[in-house]
């Protein structure tokens, strides 16, 4: 996930800088110049500075690379049709959509769909379930790959190290359906591993999958089981870039392995860990939809209904399909998620000096 730091970030950073420049220019002048001038100041200065000759040069550069734009044509067409057209269509969240009138023809209703969600019986449980499930996953799942990477990094025997890595990655490649299928079988009250184990010791077999109290733990820890090895990759890669001279110096000074982890490895991982934490928190509302949906049963719905599954059910499953209502909830989630990402990034920068942009 780290390339975000270099890549995702760069365009975002550009945007932010661009904004800064804009405000910087406006601020000193806004007190003295009349409003009509402010408009001119607001123009990005790169465009403003272009005189005729430079404009001709720019045009030449565009023309010289015309074949590159031809290459870009199909991807851009795809982007507009499959990613930006839906964003345009998301306006039905503010309309009372009916297929007969189409998107533009349906009447505007303002925030009625949002209000309906706020006042709905499902609002509170769905929000709480989403937050509890995602923050539980985040807090329990975050340190474990780091610990695994630190531990693996200490291993000297290459064969042992590679074997452990290979085995811990493996579950990442198993599909969600199979993972949840495995959970159902493994924890089956009659034919599962836990049942066999209980039989072996003459105890009553537990029914973990039918217990709503166990749902969150099963969801989170099976996720950790599946992803810890794969998530450790990035930390192992960062550990490999730490200057060996630091370790050599520490050894000469008599530092133990534990001390070297504490004072060299962990600080070395911190910037990466912070960036990853920010990004994961930003996506905290996007719980693994596929898995939650598969794990749901009438027994555990009180704790297992999250925003994404609710959006799906309201929009595409219920007997009375409500596209507008479902879109409104989805839009709300997307918007809150975006705000959260910005807020967490800001907080991370304030506290640690490391941030995504």
């Amino acid at each position: 996930m780290l390339y975000f730091r270099l890549l995702l970030v760069r365009p975002v950073a550009v945007l932010v800088q661009f904004k800064k420049r804009e405000t910087m220019q406006v601020e000193p002048t806004s007190d003295i110049t009349p409003a009509s001038d402010a408009l001119e100041v607001r123009l990005p200065h790169r465009l403003r500075l272009l005189n005729q000759e430079e404009r001709a040069k720019l045009w030449l550069r565009i023309r010289r690379n015309w074949q590159l734009y031809v290459l870009l044509f199909l991807p851009l067409l795809w982007l507009v049709v499959f990613r930006y057209a839906p964003m345009y269509g998301a306006q039905i969240a503010f309309r009372d959509y009916s297929p007969a009138f189409g998107i533009e023809g349906s009447p505007w209703v303002g925030f009625a769909n949002f209000e309906r969600f706020f006042n709905s019986f499902y609002f509170k449980p769905v929000i709480i379930n989403t937050l509890v499930l995602s923050f539980y996953s985040l807090i329990a799942g975050f340190p474990i790959p780091i610990i695994l990477a630190l531990s693996l990094n200490q291993v000297k025997t290459r064969l042992f190290r590679n074997s452990v890595q290979m085995i811990t990655y493996a579950p990442h490649f198993i599909s969600t359906v199979v993972i949840v299928g495995m959970l159902f079988q493994f924890l089956h009250p009659r034919v599962g591993f836990t049942a066999s184990l209980a039989n072996l010791f003459g105890m009553a077999p537990p029914n973990a999958m039918g217990d709503p109290g166990a749902f969150r733990h099963i969801f989170v820890w099976s996720g950790i089981w599946q992803e810890m090895g794969f998530n450790a990759i990035i930390f192992l890669a960062v550990l490999s870039t730490i200057d060996p001279a630091l370790h050599e110096a520490a050894v000469v000074d008599g530092a133990s392995r534990l001390q070297r982890i504490r004072y060299i490895d962990i600080p070395g991982l911190m910037p990466t860990a912070m960036v990853l934490l920010v990004l994961t928190t930003g996506r905290v509302l996007e719980i693994a939809f596929e898995k939650v949906y598969l794990m749901q049963s009438p027994l555990n719905l009180s704790v297992a209904e999250v925003i994404n599954t609710y959006v799906y059910k309201v929009g595409l499953l219920s007997p009375v399909l409500d596209f507008s209502y479902s879109t409104a909830i989805g839009l709300l989630k997307g918007f809150v998620g975006l705000l959260l990402l910005i807020a967490v990034n800001h907080a991370a920068r304030r506290m640690t000096g490391n941030s995504v942009w």
Partner: protein, 306 residues
């Protein structure tokens, strides 16, 4: 990866202290425990899949097959739906991945050229879809309006370009193809199409390998949700959707179990079938992954550690 162990080889020459030896012992134990935890469920599933239906239903299986039998596998081989799903998944994965990789590469190369006017804005337009999207229903409406519902194309066209994979590819081109090379080709009279075909594509082989893997596994083979919303026709279902019916919704074609009179034995076979199915469904990816995992690791590291 080799560089990771470099400092250790130097340090080994120094005698380890008692504290370090105890630590290393604890460390090894910790890793062995983790490995066991990872392996335990996998071993159980495999063991159960090779056991008899009676042993499975009696809950006797732990980590070794009880009353070895291949009945579960034999039953699956006769299950037409599973094979149909398998064939569909192969189809979607094959053609879908070709489409994804093609689109990603032709987008990534121009965007990696810093002399392309507007590369920042266009890249940002792609990245933005990662931060914010129109949502489930509006996307569904677009697919519906294009007449793609319940067609094979619905499994392929909407996947298009993963912004994340696009970023990896752009970084790859920036770091492996020096601008001087492009300039030299231009001086030799090659236009951009020619450069792309004769210089960029041959150099792009490693990134194509990484992209093929990412798209094939993460976009096509493993997910079931796109199929769930876009496909109605059972004949078009990919493997994961068939698996969902059998493993999660517990619906097995009754004709499979008809020879068996006894209710308990029938129930046993139903469960046994699931274990065998889990094994069969995981085998393709499990067989390939040890050989390709270093590409995955490479993909994860492109751009991150430079």
């Amino acid at each position: 990866m080799a560089s990771m162990t470099s400092y250790d080889s130097n340090i080994n020459k120094v005698n380890e202290s008692a504290v370090d030896r105890v630590f290393m012992l604890g460390n090894t134990a910790f890793l062995l425990i983790i490995t066991t935890i990872i392996l335990l469920p996998l071993v159980f599933i495999v063991a159960a899949s090779f056991s008899s239906a009676e042993a499975v239903i009696a809950g006797k299986v732990t980590l070794w097959p009880v009353d070895f039998s291949l009945l579960g596998y034999e039953t699956i081989f006769e299950h037409k739906k599973v094979w149909n799903g398998f064939a569909n998944s192969l189809f979607y994965t094959f053609f879908g991945t070709i489409f994804n990789v093609f689109m990603t590469i032709i987008a990534a190369y121009p965007l990696s050229r810093r002399d392309l006017v507007g590369w920042r804005a266009i890249t940002f337009a792609f990245i933005f879809t990662m931060l914010f999207s129109g949502g489930l229903i509006p996307t569904y409406m677009v697919v519906k309006d294009l007449g793609l519902l319940n067609t094979r194309l619905a499994m392929i066209l909407p996947t298009g370009i993963g912004p994340f994979n696009l970023l990896i590819a752009i970084t790859f081109f920036r770091t492996t193809i020096p601008p001087e090379l492009i300039e030299a080709a231009r001086i030799d009279g090659a236009n951009d199409f020619r450069t792309f075909r004769s210089i960029v594509l041959p150099l792009a082989r490693p990134i194509i390998a990484v992209l093929v893997l990412f798209y094939a596994v993460n976009t096509h083979w493993n997910p079931y949700f796109p199929a769930l919303i876009y496909l109605k026709d059972q004949e078009l279902f990919p493997l994961q959707l068939v698996l969902r019916e059998i493993l999660i919704q517990n619906s097995i074609d009754a004709s499979m179990l008809i020879d068996i009179e006894d209710l308990v034995a029938r129930e046993g076979l139903r469960e046994l079938l699931k274990y065998s199915l889990i094994v069969v469904a995981s085998i393709p990816v499990m067989l390939i992954y040890p050989f390709v995992q270093r590409h995955f690791v490479k993909g994860m590291m492109i751009g991150s550690v430079k």
